[in-house]
């Protein structure tokens, strides 16, 4: 018996389900892709977190990439506030840092002065 202290039973079961599906001899690429879609897109945020860490810890490249892709897809085009709320993150930036960060979002125009070229 090999103890895995960092992963709980439920997550491990999920990882094993994934591995089983992906090592099946007669599973086509299409079937695997379909499985991945249902498997990953049905996961809640908390479960994704466990799955990501588990895949990293167990060094399962395929699952690790898939989970990261899933997280990225979920965040795409969403605002910073939404991300913080959904992933339960508290931002500890100081107000100076916040100003610095907001500067990255600034666009400076040419031609705002009426006599500029």
């Amino acid at each position: 018996m090999i103890p895995l202290p960092l992963i709980d039973g439920r997550t491990l079961a999920r990882v094993i389900t994934y591995l089983n599906k992906h090592t099946e001899d007669d599973a086509s690429d299409e079937a695997k892709r379909k499985f991945d879609e249902e498997f990953l897109y049905g996961m809640e945020v908390g479960v994704l977190y466990d799955a990501a860490l588990a895949a990293n810890y167990l060094d399962i490249g395929g699952l690790f990439h898939e989970v990261c892709q899933r997280i990225a897809d979920g965040m795409m085009n969403k605002s910073v506030e939404w991300v913080r709320k959904t992933f339960h993150i508290e931002s500890e930036f100081t107000s100076e840092e916040e100003v610095q960060i907001k500067k990255e979002y600034a666009w400076a125009w040419e031609g705002v002065d009426s006599n500029a070229d």
Partner: protein, 408 residues
């Protein structure tokens, strides 16, 4: 309880690499400090080297590739349609706002356009990219940097998002034949056969699917100008007998057969055909007006305008409706015409913003009123939505909480 802010850096890095646009990476880095530390900032300028002029032209000192990005901007607070812009950021402190479909700049910018525009609070989506070859002349005049015409290169539709990885892009010729070019070894493989048909072909990446748009041109008098064959006809012959777009056909790729299959309904999709770029968007994401539906193609064409001075031609944007086959300048359609220019109200105005008194912080001038005690202040109102500053021209009554001298 999952603490996402403590995820290992390599995981955060991998997630950020899967984000489709640099705007998403920018947002990722703004979430919290561990995320910020794990991911490097996206490059602000495209670092293309300057190509030296090696015998191509007598007047050019060199060439460089200018990268422009097309964005759709939306204010989350108001129920307005998106504003689609094209931004050239070769010099981060001097950006240019360009017409998304044509090569020109929008000038002049409205008087109350903010000098510094901050999109932190906006819904921003990158719709596409454009690369334009520009020449640099020997004589350093104001016009010494200009767009190199089509003399030096073939038109190529470059797409990074069609799932083919680095260094490969699609190219279409004017018969509709499409090849996949591997820029590393210049290997060319056929993807789809010719379809002939119309006069000009465009490739568009629409939600990861490669579409071919076939543009049909025709030469002849426009029906809507109401010309009569008289003196005017010959005087303004050039305008009347011009080449114009009459219709489009859209095709999607059947990869197995290597053939183009006609698509008669785009559904919610809008296709945009620019002079140097193509992109697509979903009508449901851009418009909040039900009258503006998808299944349309936006393109540029020469349009005849008539005013008191006579008839003149200019390059404008046209709309083609796939369902009805109707085609015409964008100005004829109330909902569509506001997509590009002028900028929507929320960019410049402050009318729709709720201001709390203590938010008015920036005071730049204090001038004494001739009459006596009262002082008039020139206030710059903070544009809450886009983070710019614009001069306040409205009459305000407010209670002064504090007057502070700010040295800046």
């Amino acid at each position: 309880m999952a603490d996402w802010s403590t995820l290992p850096a390599e995981l955060l890095n991998l997630v950020s690499q899967q984000l489709p646009s640099s705007t998403d990476v920018l947002r990722f880095r703004s979430v919290c400090s561990t995320w910020r530390a794990a991911v490097p900032p996206p490059p602000t300028t495209a670092s293309f080297p300057i190509l030296p002029n090696s015998g191509i032209s007598d007047t050019s000192w060199g060439f460089y590739l200018s990268k422009r990005t097309i964005y759709s901007l939306q204010s989350p607070l108001t129920n307005h349609s998106s504003w689609i812009i094209k931004l050239e950021r070769d010099n981060p402190s001097r950006m240019h706002l360009l017409n998304p479909l044509a090569r020109s700049q929008f000038r002049p910018l409205p008087n109350n356009f903010p000098k510094l525009f901050n999109f932190f609070n906006l819904r921003v989506k990158e719709l596409g990219e454009e690369y334009a070859l520009q020449y640099i002349n020997f004589r350093p005049t104001a016009n010494s940097i200009g767009e190199a015409g089509n003399l030096y290169m073939e038109k190529v539709a470059v797409s990074n998002n069609l799932g083919n990885g680095e260094g490969r892009f699609y190219a279409v010729d004017n018969t509709g034949r499409v090849v996949l070019v591997n820029s590393l070894d210049l290997n060319v493989s056929l993807v789809a056969n010719s379809i002939f048909g119309g006069d000009k072909k465009f490739l568009v990446d629409s939600d990861g699917e490669l579409l071919l748009v076939d543009m049909y041109l025709s030469v002849g008098p426009a029906d809507d100008l109401g010309f009569n064959e008289g003196f005017e006809f010959y005087e303004e012959f050039d305008c009347f007998m011009s080449e114009r777009t009459v219709k489009f056909k859209v095709f999607r790729l059947d990869e197995n057969m290597g053939k183009w299959v006609e698509l008669t309904d785009l559904g919610d999709r809008l296709l945009f055909l620019g002079d140097n770029c193509t992109f697509s968007a979903r009508a449901s994401e851009i418009f909040c007006d039900d009258r503006c539906r998808g299944n349309c193609i936006f393109f540029t064409d020469q349009y005849c305008n008539r005013d008191d001075d006579g008839l003149w031609k200019s390059r404008g944007v046209g709309v083609f409706d796939l369902e009805s086959g109707s085609i015409g300048p964008i100005g004829n359609h109330v909902g569509y015409s506001k997509m590009f220019w002028p900028p929507p109200d929320w960019v410049c105005s402050t009318a729709s913003i709720e201001m709390r008194i203590d938010e008015i912080l920036l005071v730049t001038k204090v001038t004494s009123d001739v009459v006596g005690i009262t002082r008039s202040l020139v206030l710059y109102r903070h544009l809450h939505i886009c983070g710019g500053w614009a001069e306040s021209t409205e009459y305000l009554t407010f209670k002064v909480l504090e007057i502070r001298e700010i040295n800046s």
